[in-house]
């Protein structure tokens, strides 16, 4: 696996714009613990090793349990997540694999049962934002620090 460009150095303006989006998402009022689960699940699907390492570490620092974090990739089969978290994880999977799922009515209905209109849009932006970071980190092969 060959090294690629350092995107922070290559286009400071681009990363500044994406960081501004991230800051905006964090201020929209969604629960931080929910956002970490969403970020982790999207990063798993997109195969972003750097992002998985970062968000599992961040979630642990914020008090998330190891058992729940291990359960995120198989959340449908675990009793660890609330109905609101399950709706958010289902929507995350739908939107992350958009070209395959087309954001089906069943997942939208789950979402609408747990989130108000504003929260649905805010969550969609959060999912879009982690998908953006995943594209940078996977696209340019950003690696987690060695153990």
């Amino acid at each position: 696996m060959t090294a690629r460009i350092n995107f922070y150095a290559a286009s400071a303006d681009a990363i500044k714009a994406l960081s501004a989006l991230e800051v905006a998402v964090s201020k929209l009022g969604l629960e931080p613990s929910l956002l970490e689960l969403v970020k982790l699940r999207a990063s798993q699907i997109n195969g972003c090793a750097y992002c998985v390492d970062l968000h599992t570490t961040d979630a642990r620092k914020a008090g998330e349990s190891e058992r729940r974090l291990h359960g995120v990739s198989v959340w449908r089969e675990t009793p660890f997540f609330s109905d609101r978290e399950r709706a958010a994880l289902a929507w995350t999977e739908s939107l992350t694999q958009l070209s395959l799922t087309h954001a089906p009515d069943a997942d939208y209905a789950l979402l609408a049962a747990q989130f108000n209109d504003k929260e649905m849009v805010d969550l969609t932006l959060a999912i879009s934002t982690i998908n953006s970071w995943n594209r940078f980190a996977v696209g340019f092969r950003k690696m987690p620090a060695a153990l």
């Binding site: 995107f7 150095a9 992350t96």
Partner: protein, 145 residues
């Protein structure tokens, strides 16, 4: 098709953040015609009818030909696109379908033949931005004007 919410009305805060990202893409100095092709291709892959309708109309207003727009979905088999356009379209496909295939080495290598590091990062931001809009457009079934 079930009607869904109007995202601009539901969360102006979220949408102003996304508009700011789009404006940053537009200011980054990328070729506007290639940018339209990229947006169209990502929207085709993600199945965003609203986005395709809007981006193809914008491309036509920007002087793009109908024949080239009609060929974007099958650009690999077309002679109508330049080498830098082909590199950008391949990178768009690799990043838009990230989970499916992962960005192929060849797609990245082709980008490095035609663009400098800043331009590659800026094209990548453009691809992520249209992917955000596609998620809004499809996620909330935005209807055509």
């Amino acid at each position: 098709m079930q009607k869904r919410i109007d995202y601009h009305q539901a969360s102006p805060e979220a949408m102003s953040a996304l508009i700011a990202l789009e404006l940053a893409v537009q200011r980054s100095g990328l070729d506007p015609r290639m940018l339209q092709l990229l947006k169209l291709r990502a929207s085709q892959i993600n199945g965003c009818a609203f986005c395709i309708d809007m981006e193809s109309a914008e491309a036509r207003r920007g002087g793009e030909s109908f024949r080239r727009l009609s060929a974007v979905a099958l650009w690999r088999d077309s002679v109508l696109f330049s080498a830098p356009e082909r590199a950008t379209l391949a990178w768009t496909e690799a990043l838009t379908q990230l989970g499916a295939a992962g960005p192929r080495e060849r797609a990245y290598d082709a980008m490095t033949h035609h663009f400098n590091a800043k331009q590659i990062a800026d094209w990548t931001l453009a691809i992520t931005s249209i992917n955000c809009w596609n998620r809004m457009g499809v996620g909330f079934r935005k209807t055509l004007l």
